[in-house]
């Protein structure tokens, strides 16, 4: 995998992890 490929993968994974952590945090908080 090229450096650019690694960056695309890391940024995509990071964005999705971020969205999930944000939602889970709010879901737990609103329980």
């Amino acid at each position: 995998m090229t450096t650019a490929g690694s960056i695309f993968m890391a940024v995509s994974w990071g964005a999705i992890f971020g969205l999930n952590i944000y939602c889970l945090w709010h879901l737990f908080r609103s329980e």
């Binding site: 995998m1 650019a4 964005a15 969205l19 999930n20």
Partner: protein, 527 residues
């Protein structure tokens, strides 16, 4: 939520817990496409660069439409409607509205006529993996012959007829019926609470297992998981100039989030009128994207490149999603330690993804019969599943003649975008984006950015309209004319079209009759 006084208890079914709603919506969204379609789309359309239009489409179409559909569903539920026919009629006071909304009942039902059968293949192959039924078939071609024999297309020594596949279909259909008979909270929600966490655990295990393949054959150092990840993720920026890549990304977002199906609406209708839809929608999107991009993007194609190399994997990816999932991966897993168990888990993952989506597809019509025709829940479930069971027979018997693909193209691709386009126009332009956005914000546990208002009003309809125009220009005429279809398969395609037209006409008729009761019975909660 159970104790929320806003939920009209005793009048309509409701979800048991907030987590249950999110998991049920995620169960609806996460399907076979997350694990089979996404990696293929990414690899074919620019690799990592595909993620640029993919995330643009997620922000322009996916997230705002998920919010919109959740809001329409909750709004409809408040008015006593668990189906889009009644919901769209609540948004738009016009005689045509209920027929537009009828698409959200017709489409998932039509898709379910083949989707449950495909889901049953996953159950069958998980059993075959565990029993070692295909042990010794060491090439994709042999696995292809095994799959064809199982489907009854070309019987061989393994399967003399389609009876084994039929048996697994009956079992899967019975499971679908059992879940639906439990109702929303005790059936669909309970399934989602068990299946979705299991699916994520299996997916995470498989992703780690694939990454541990390393370089399976030291004589072929180019074939390794790093090259596999590169196959999916290395960007090819020139692909961004191709409008087809943008259409592919928008299509993938549309299909993966199950937008335009009428199912999100139905599920959201079981929310209380003051319950949140903004966080619920965002959490559904997040879980679906985790399953698709992180798990789906790691398992199938990475494993294929590590074992077969880039060229062969490209060939597999181009020949179709099922070739990857049902032919290449079983061969790969056989070559690894504990391959039977890993293969079993792979197909169980697909089966859970399929089953949670399958039950969702039947629910809009069940809700319509229950709420507008006053059919008791049990009878509505048996009626809908009985009809599904009957209509799956041509799918089973005409496998290999293009019948399934024809249903999938018109209902599972074109139909969804048509309905999605119409509902966003009605929501943003007829109901009004200000009123619509108030619905999204009402009871919200997070504050959705108002940036999405003009996006939903202008960008989403333009994007979807553009996709429809491109299709009308490039694909639909050739599809209609059945170009490149062998003469012996044309009857099957015409049969599929007759079935779809008959089903659409029947749905219109059911909705027309049901609408006569909306002012009397089901809609008594309007005021």
């Amino acid at each position: 939520m159970k104790d929320d006084p806003a939920i009209p208890t005793g009048s309509r079914q409701t979800w048991g817990t907030r987590w249950g709603v999110v998991l049920a919506l995620a169960g609806n969204a996460i399907g076979l496409g997350n694990f089979l379609r996404f990696p293929r789309q990414a690899a074919e359309n620019g690799g990592g660069a595909f993620m640029i239009p993919y995330f643009v489409a997620l922000l322009v179409i996916g997230l705002p439409m998920m919010w919109m559909e959740c809001a329409i569903g909750r709004f409809g539920g408040k008015h006593g409607h668990g189906h889009t026919a009644g919901m769209i009629a609540s948004l738009w006071n016009h005689p045509a509205a209920k027929y537009v909304g009828a698409l959200g009942v017709f489409l998932p039902f039509t898709i379910a006529t083949y989707y449950i059968y495909i889901t049953s293949w996953c159950l069958a192959f998980s059993v075959f993996s565990l029993l070692g039924t295909y042990q010794g078939l060491e090439s994709r071609q042999q696995m292809g012959a095994f799959l064809n024999a199982f489907q009854g297309v070309t019987p061989d020594g393994h399967f003399g007829s389609v009876l084994t596949a039929y048996g697994f279909y009956v079992v899967t259909m019975a499971m679908t019926v059992a879940v639906l008979l439990g109702g929303v909270a005790k059936g669909i929600e309970r399934l989602a609470k068990a299946a979705i966490p299991t699916l994520f655990l299996i997916g995470a295990f498989l992703a780690v297992r694939v990454l541990m393949f390393g370089t399976p054959d030291s004589a072929l150092p180019d074939r390794n998981v790093w090259a596999g990840l590169g196959f999916v993720w290395n960007p090819r920026f020139d692909a961004l100039a191709d409008p087809q890549v943008w259409v592919a990304a928008a299509g993938q977002i549309f299909f993966t989030l199950s937008i335009g199906w009428g199912i999100v609406h139905t599920y959201a209708s079981y929310l209380g009128e003051n319950d949140d839809v903004a966080l619920t929608g965002a959490a559904t999107v997040g879980l679906n994207e985790f399953a698709e991009v992180i798990l789906g993007g790691t398992i199938a194609l990475t494993a294929a490149v590590a074992f077969f190399g880039v060229d062969a994997t490209r060939e597999i990816a181009e020949s179709g999603s099922f070739d990857l999932g049902f032919q290449a991966l079983p061969v790969i897993f056989q070559r690894t330690a504990g391959g039977g168990l890993v293969g079993c888990l792979w197909f169980l993952l697909l089966f859970f993804a399929g089953l949670t989506s399958a039950v969702a597809m039947a629910q809009p019509l069940i809700a319509l019969l229950e709420e507008s025709w006053n059919v008791p829940n049990r009878r509505a479930v048996l009626l809908v599943c009985g009809a599904l069971f009957a209509l799956t027979h041509p799918v089973i018997l005409l496998k290999g003649h293009g019948y399934l693909d024809e249903l999938d193209y018109w209902a599972g691709e074109v139909g969804l975008v048509v309905f999605g386009f119409l509902e966003v126009v009605i929501f943003a332009w007829i109901f009004g984006i200000e009123r619509g956005w108030q619905q999204i914000e009402h009871g919200a546990a997070i504050r959705p950015s108002r940036v999405f208002m003009p996006i939903l009003e202008y960008a989403t309809p333009l994007f979807l309209g553009g996709i429809l125009l491109l299709w009308l220009w490039h694909e639909v005429p050739a599809k209609l004319a059945m170009k490149d279809v062998p003469a012996q398969d044309r009857a099957a395609l015409i049969g599929a079209r007759i079935v779809m037209v008959a089903l659409l006409a029947a749905t219109f008729q059911i909705v027309r009759k049901a609408s006569q009761n909306w002012g009397k019975g089901a809609s008594r909660f309007v005021k």
